[in-house]
Amino acid sequence: MSTVTHPDPTEHAGHPPLPHVRKVAMWAFLGSECLFFGSLISTFLLYRNRTGDGPAAADIFDIPFTSISSFILLMSSLTMVLAHHASERKDWRRMRVWLLATALLGMTFLAGQVFEFTEFVHHGLTVSTSPFGSSFFVLTGFHGAHVAVGVIMLLATAFMSFGGKLRADGGMNVELVGLYWHFVDIVWIVIFTVVYLLQV
């Protein structure tokens, strides 16, 4: 009786390996996200001085508070890269710890953003107050939504690792989640400088 071998469905003669394709897709997605946030940032720059009757950036921005939020998000990139580093060494326990630490830092950043938005609303700046308010909330809100999606991805990845599902892909899922997370961080690096520090 002849033995039938079933080829790996992800492997085809002459085709690039699936992990490479997934990574290419992620980088192409991140490249397109640059344009997405670029359009939102340029809209903010266009309307930053059109405050109408509402408060201006210098009246309401709390730079020390936002600096701490920025620092937290920056450090989450460190914990993320340590999670990826642990997954490369197949140290799954440590990888989970760093993934959960990253998610925790991301949630802390989001909590800070919710607090900041609430303060701004109390000071009279809403999404409909002025073009400045609209462009500010749309830009930072979309960034916050990206952070929230990242936190869900981090928690899902940590949860998947308990079932051993991450071992089969050689840590590629962690790497892809990491790329997304670092991208969210670099977008904030730009927002922190252009939207906050240069406006006060």
């Binding site: 490479h20 990574k23 290419v24 980088w27 192409a28 991140l30 490249g31 397109s32 996200e33 640059c34 344009l35 946030f37 670029g38 359009s39 940032i41 340029s42 809209t43 720059l45 266009l46 730079i63 020390p64 600096s67 920025s70 620092f71 920056l74 450090m75 990139s77 460190l78 993320m80 890269v81 340590l82 580093h85 490369e88 990491g178 790329l179 670092h182 991208f183 961080d185 670099i186 690096i189 730009v190 922190f192 400088t193 252009v194 520090l197 240069l198 006060v200």
Partner: protein, 98 residues
């Protein structure tokens, strides 16, 4: 098509050192906004520091410095196109339409 070989990724200690540098730059960014004597150069200073942080995260944490060139090129398309988009939007709505 031959791809460049992977270079070894940084060590755990190097990741911590990079994070320390990023933290110091963030502190410097905030500090320069409070120093009146630097008012004339604060904008270029902040932009240079932001670019430095951006590059460090992309190069070391996202491993773009060590990975295959195709990933870098894909990302570069977005990075190069974004300032063009900036210019087009600001010129169209800021100058042409006003």
């Amino acid at each position: 098509m031959a791809e460049a070989a992977h270079r070894p990724h940084p060590t755990t200690r190097q990741y911590w050192e990079i994070a320390l540098i990023l933290a110091v730059i963030t502190g410097a960014e905030v500090s320069v906004t409070y120093i009146d004597a630097l008012d004339a150069v604060v904008v270029p200073l902040l932009l240079v520091m932001a670019v430095a942080k951006f590059w460090m995260v992309v190069a070391f944490f996202m491993h773009l410095r060590f990975d295959k060139p195709i990933y870098r090129n894909l990302f570069l398309i977005g990075i190069v196109a974004t300032p063009l988009l900036f210019g087009a939007v600001l010129f169209t709505f800021g100058v042409l339409i006003g």
